[in-house]
Amino acid sequence: MEIGQHISQRYNEELEDIRNQVLKMGGLVESQAEQAVKALLESDFELAKTVANGDEAVNQMEIDIDEECTRVIARRQPTASDLRLVVAVVKVITDLERIGDEAEKIARYSKKLAKKQKITTMHSELSHMSQLVLTMLHDSLDAFARLDAEGAVGILGKDQQVNVELDNLSRLLITFMMEDPRNIKNALRVSWCARSLERIADHAQNICEYVIYLVKGKDVRHTSLEHIRSKYFPYDIEDGEE
């Protein structure tokens, strides 16, 4: 699947421009998420503050890309892969914007958490979960950049692991709260951060589904992973089990 080689050079440039902007937005959002997680884990108040205020740029990019997509639809009437690219982009940027929102939320809670004691007890669990989520996000953005449907389908199952991590963390937090009710406030904040991380994983998974739609032309939302694999990626079955 290629963007270039349209007869109209301008059309090529417009599509290329949209894609580049999405990748730029993805980079920005990914870095937002990383910074937020870093601020959370290292109780870095200043960093958290920066991240909490950095959401504006992401929102503006979403609006710009949306506008550009509308323009291309109106002027070029894209079809087939071009149409799927534009549709996927419109959806991907929505998810990216939400990820940005979640990162902002994490940063806001981090700001409050940073003033309190260090969350030493939950640090390793939180760190593990956030690494998992950030990897998912990174890989899904990579899959989008490379238009790699196989890579995207590999990511699809990983939110289960995140859910497991979330459950673990929740149990831990409940114990923590039962130990000392004064911890409840912070524990809830941590819980909300974890919740946001889980959301980010969901959005990353959505992006993967759009990548599959974009490349394969198949809408794989609300479809079981086994079905997707067996139907659209028959040659990937062995790899997928790893």
Binding site: Q5, G27, E30, T79, S127, L147, P234, Y235
Partner: protein, 303 residues
């Protein structure tokens, strides 16, 4: 975590367009080609060229102009009460194929058509089939509006008179009126039936031609770029008309406008260099074509 944070904020990713791990060209289990490996070769038609409720069907259709082959082994069904659009670059054989369906190619002496072609299961090119009767059953509307230099009334009545469809004047009047109504032209011309058909606007002329075709009461209407000479408003009127006609007629339309094909048809057939590359539901063709050539054509890559 450090390996995760390798992208600076605001930096676009490196974009290798090809996937890093090369995939086998053909899958070992299914023998199916992966879509990225589809080249510009055409090995048979992809998609769904055949339907269950075929009104007309062609099998292994070859058309030759003298020594030059214009169409290569096309298999295609046209379903009952459907609009099938035929698209493709100029000279791809779509118009030629359309003209196979009502034997218009008979008028070109060097043209030779082979293969099996049926209308309701009857062989179109059989010895028993009379091309005149066939053309009464399979009407045609042409690219350029071509009303006869006669009155509007005579234009519409022409086919009926030719085939003796009306036994007296009042029957003929009714037939003309009904045809004009079906073609959505009656209101505009009902007071000017004796005025020359050539005096109408382009869009009205084309609707007059449709009325003329309908008046013979055909089962199939072939349209060869019917709106290519019309402005968008007239085009929209005709497209709307086609949609209404669909309940009673089977329509095959050749068009250069992909948007038109997308708007009016249920199925779309893509021709390339005399071969039928892909036939599928129009939705499918315009969102996710199976063949690389179709994709290239409808996204405007090679034209």
């Amino acid at each position: 975590m450090t390996d995760v944070i390798n992208t600076m904020p605001g930096m676009p990713r490196a974009v290798p367009l090809e996937s890093e791990t090369p995939k086998p060209a053909v899958d070992a289990i299914t023998g199916e080609k992966h879509r990225s490996e589809f080249d510009v070769e055409i090995n048979g038609t992809v998609g769904k060229p055949l339907v269950d409720n075929a009104k007309m069907s062609s099998r292994n259709c070859d058309v030759f102009y003298g020594d030059k082959q214009a169409i290569f082994g096309v298999d295609l069904d046209i379903g009952n009460n459907e609009i099938i659009a035929m698209i493709g670059p100029s000279g791809c054989g779509k118009s030629t194929f359309l003209r196979v369906l009502n034997r218009m190619n008979d008028t070109i002496s060097i043209c030779r058509v082979t293969g099996e072609h049926t209308l309701d299961g009857e062989d179109i090119y059989g010895k028993k089939t009379d091309p005149v009767l066939l053309r009464a059953r399979v009407g045609m509307v042409f690219q350029k509006p071509n009303p006869f230099p006669k009155s509007i009334y005579d234009n519409v009545a022409y086919g009926a008179r030719l085939h003796g469809l009306a036994s007296n004047r009042s029957e003929l009047d009714d037939l003309v009126e009904a045809s004009l109504i079906k073609a959505g032209l009656f209101k505009e011309v009902k007071d000017d039936l004796q005025k020359p058909g050539t005096g109408l606007s382009g869009g009205q002329q084309q609707r007059l031609c449709i009325a003329r075709a309908i008046a013979v009461d055909p089962e199939v209407i072939l349209m060869d770029e019917p709106t290519s000479a019309l402005d968008p408003i007239a085009t929209a009127t005709i497209e709307e008309l086609m949609d209404e006609l669909r309940s009673n007629y089977t329509i095959a339309i050749v068009t250069h406008s992909m948007q038109q094909a997308a708007r009016v048809s249920q199925r779309t057939a893509y021709f390339h260099m005399g071969k039928l590359v892909e036939v599928n539901d129009t939705d499918k063709v315009f969102t996710n074509p199976e063949h690389q050539l179709t994709e290239n054509y409808i996204t405007g890559r090679f034209g």
